[in-house]
Each structure stands twice: as C-alpha cells, then as structure tokens.
Subunit: 173 residues, 4 copies
Amino acid sequence: MVKPQIAIIGSGTISENTTAYSIARELGEKLIDEGFRILCGGLGGVMTAVCEGARSSSNYTEGSTIGILPVLDKDLSNPFVDISIATGFSIARNQIIIASSDIVVSISGGSGTLSELAFAWQLNKPIISFQNTGGWSEKLANQKIDDSRIDTINSVNSVREAIILVKEILSEK
Amino acid sequence: MVKPQIAIIGSGTISENTTAYSIARELGEKLIDEGFRILCGGLGGVMTAVCEGARSSSNYTEGSTIGILPVLDKDLSNPFVDISIATGFSIARNQIIIASSDIVVSISGGSGTLSELAFAWQLNKPIISFQNTGGWSEKLANQKIDDSRIDTINSVNSVREAIILVKEILSEK
Amino acid sequence: MVKPQIAIIGSGTISENTTAYSIARELGEKLIDEGFRILCGGLGGVMTAVCEGARSSSNYTEGSTIGILPVLDKDLSNPFVDISIATGFSIARNQIIIASSDIVVSISGGSGTLSELAFAWQLNKPIISFQNTGGWSEKLANQKIDDSRIDTINSVNSVREAIILVKEILSEK
Amino acid sequence: MVKPQIAIIGSGTISENTTAYSIARELGEKLIDEGFRILCGGLGGVMTAVCEGARSSSNYTEGSTIGILPVLDKDLSNPFVDISIATGFSIARNQIIIASSDIVVSISGGSGTLSELAFAWQLNKPIISFQNTGGWSEKLANQKIDDSRIDTINSVNSVREAIILVKEILSEK
C-alpha cells in the first residue's frame, strides 16, 4: 500500500502574495487530503508553498512531504519539509525528483522548472501544468516537448481540475 | 518535529538465515520503536532485512522506510520500502544515503558498504558498526579511516548497544 | 594555455542527410580549425556529426573531442569521440557537459537538448543557437528562458556566424 | 586509436616533499612517455603531482591530463590540468573518475581514495596500488576488497614496476 508520489515543481522565488503561491499551497493541502505523498526540491517559492499547504490538511501525517535538495546539507530544507534528502548533486538533483514521481505537476517556473519538465518528458512521466500561473507551465500548456511521445502536457486552470486529473491518471496505471 | 534519519548500510547479498540478516531485521524494528526513520539503498540483503524489521514494530507507520535506488525505475525497491527515491546515479547514489542521514549504522558489507563508510567518514557523519557481522563493519570497528577526524568508528555487538548509542549521539547534537 | 571547451548540444537522433547534421559536422571542423576543444554527450546525431567533423580539420589532433556519456561503460561513445567520460548518471550527466563548457552551441534538439539549454541558462553560460535547424534551438532563438539574466540566447544562421560569435565571446572573457 | 585512460587516485593533501608526491610526479611523467592519458580528481596533492609530472614528459601534448572536479566551477582545477570536467556532484564525482578509466593506480590516500578503491573494485577495474606510500594504498596492497572478484589489488613498489604492470594489463585487454 505504497502512497503515490506526486512531484510538484515550479518557481523557487515567487513570494507569498502571488496566485502561483496560493495555488501551490492549496494543491499541497488537497494532495494530502487524497492520501498522496509530495515530492519537491525542498527550497523556496512553490516548494515551500506546497509543503506548507500539506500541513493544513486534516489528513496530514509526519512524512507526507519530501524535499530533495541540491546541496549536501540536509538542514537546508524549507521548514515544512518532513523528509530531507540531501544529494550534493547541484541542479542535477532534478533528475531524482522526476524519476521518483508517479506524476509531475508544474506551477509557473523559470529555467529550473524547465529542466524538470524536459526530464519529465524524457522519462515518460505524466505531466500536468497550471496554465494560469505564467512561466514555463503556461508556455508549455497543451504542448508537446518533442515528438517522442504521442501525448501533450495536460493543462489545468484550478486545483480542483488538477486533483481530478491526478486521480484519473493514477487509476489508469 | 522532524524524525531523525538513520542510514543502515551493509551487504546487499546476504541471505535470510545469517546473523547479519537477523541483526538488521531486529535493528529495523527497534529503530522504528524509537520513532526514527530508516534510510537505505532500497535493494536486497541488509536493506531488505532492515525494512522488513521496521514493519514488525508496533510503532510502524507507512513512510517509516526510505529506499534510495541506483536506478531510474522507482518500482525496483524491495517490497518493504515505503518511499522509493529513484536516482539513476548508479553507485554514486551512496552519497545521498549518507548525506541524508543523521547517523550511519553498518552491518557486514563488501565494496559497496566500504564506499559508504568512506563517504560517511568524509562527510563527518557519526558511524556505528557491528563488529560481530564480518565484512567491512568488522574490519573497521574501532578504527579511524584517516586522520581528518579525531574520533573512531563506534562499534557495537548487539542491537541493544546500537540503539543506546544512536540515542546518545542524537541527544548530543 | 588551456583550450577553450565548447559544448555542442542537439538532437541525438537526426540522420546524416539532414541540414542539422551537415551544420554540426561543419561546426565541428571549424571549431577545431580555431584551436578549440569539443564537448558533447558522446552519442548519436548531432553528437556524432560534430565529432566526425572535428576529424576533418587540418588542425585536428587526438584529444580534440570529449564525449560525456550517461552510462557507466566508456566504450559506448560514438566512434569519433577521442576521450570518453563515463558518468553513470543517466540524463543528469547533462549538468557536466554544460558546467564544463565555456560556451554552449545548440543545433535543433528535443527534450534532452531543452534540459541542457535550461541548465546552460541557469549556470550562466553564453548560449548560441542555430535558428535554422528546427527544434528547441529554433524555438528559443533570441529568447530569454527566464528573467534571471539580462541577455537573450544568441542566435545564428550559419557556421560562419557561429564561429565569429564564439571568438567574440571568448575574447570578452 | 583512442589513448588508454589511466586514473591516478591518492591523497589530496600531501605536500611536495613527500615520497608519495615524488612517486606521483614520476608516474605522471612515465605514463605520458608511454602515450597514455591521465585522469584524476583535478585538485591538490597526488592529483597535482601527477599532472605536474605529465608536463615534464618529452611526449607531453596539451590534452594529456584530465581533472574531474567535484564542483561546478571548471576554473578550480590545479594549474597542470589540461581538460577540466566540472561535475557539481561533490565526492560522488569519484564514480566518473573510476568508470572513465581503463586502469586505476593508487598512491597513499585517505577516505576519498578509499571510496575510489571501493568503486574501482565494484566496477571491476584493474587496480594497482603503491604499497610503499602509506594510507589505503598500502593497507589494501595484495588484498581483496570482497569476494565478488577472484583477483587481488595488484601492488608495486616503484614507478618502473607500475608502468610494466599497466602495459601488461592493457595488452591483455
């Protein structure tokens, strides 16, 4: 009865008063409500928001959030991460976030998020992007990254839609 | 209230009817009894034993055991791993097991375990080795790996001693 | 008198009778003419073309081309690679190609190339893309990947332009 | 006609007036005399000595020495490295040094060298250790690291012996 592992990727620099932050926080809460485990890069912005949101779920238990850090020091995770995985692999740790996930959900995001979306495509992971959060999540909404896959990046406009889609994808596995 | 993360390293090929396997299984149970989280390499031998043992603790909850795999496929963990971290970094994933731990406990072990002991020494992690389980855990018991540290590898002869030492080291942090 | 290290990235699957392949081959030759060293991912398509081209330069000497492989087996490089670096880090080896380069030149490309472009942007490397070769090199020509840098991806239409730009960037370092 | 790639591993902290440093420098010179390429970790001690020695060979050409660095900054190699490979993978970069080599030669060494010897054993690389240089090279001379291989670590007392052995091993490949 292993919990599905959902990677949430996105901008590490957005502040609390943005739409993307609110969405990430709400997404964190709802994913835990559904009994999933959250994987992220362990740092700020979307990564903090999703872990913070997780804790407001009534279904939250310690161990629900995992931060996979670029550095060797496991104490550098944001304060809402339960399990810190310290890699020492710099931005190449993005491969681990993606490879360890069942589904990748993307919110806003710059070059770091873009490398994760590219890895997710290459490693054949289902991808869901929020098309109302700007950044690469919006630019790649409903797009293909290349022709190696027949699908496109699934795009959503709300946390509700995202949760429905996550559950649908998991049920088809 | 983040749980301490204890890495258990050791031979990936020992079979169930060995002393090392029994010790690893008992250690897994007792570590969970104490409320710690278990990190391992996610594969066989000692890694299976310690995760199997974890499940027999009355304190076990889903999420207590983490397997950090060398491969990209997260479904290749042993069946007692709760959280699979798929790295795709081959044996270099040993760096992650060590960096992510508060304490490293070593049982028997060949060349893979030896690389982990060397990393643990280099990354300044407290190390506890079982000196009655053969392999590199026995050879390096009470030894220094080099002169960069003033301590030696802590050595124990029983799970009881190991748990006492783990708690003592954590209390000094 | 260390040689500048120029990373050439691009599609690993294009065949010999494509524009991108011809450009990559010509680029390889001209980069060696100028006394530079070539870094690539060591596999097929653009990576083979650029190493093949290197050998047709009158300035070519053994050691001019380096292939940084995703696998642990160093014998899996394309036959025109002089120096095989076997990483065993899967697609995360892209970080090494980028970090080891003075300049990144991009030709066509799918998701693998896109992850390298994202890394190059994040690691603050000068980027030159061929805008007449399709793929992500064309899509990102003259674009910014995010707002963390003030420049855009430099774009060219010919090998001649690319070489001029490489020399100009190196002279400004 | 790819050059054999010989990894030289050993203490990163020994000073110039030690036996190990002299041996590493002489070894660097003789390996280049024979037409081999040198791989190392790119930093100080044995790594500097072997690259420095390479330059005193009459057979030296630019590109004879490769430094594979733990950091992302390729400018942090010792001044005798020709080709800097910047990994950003911390001490896990040791996997790359070993996987990219045809033969591993070990001089003195502490915990870092020990992790490389363990990786070399696990990746089935021929290993030659100097038993008169102290450290792990001496401790493991003529030993097996575990029972997964039938051979032992080849041990030598002089650069002359080492070169003979390197040539013999390469001729058997």
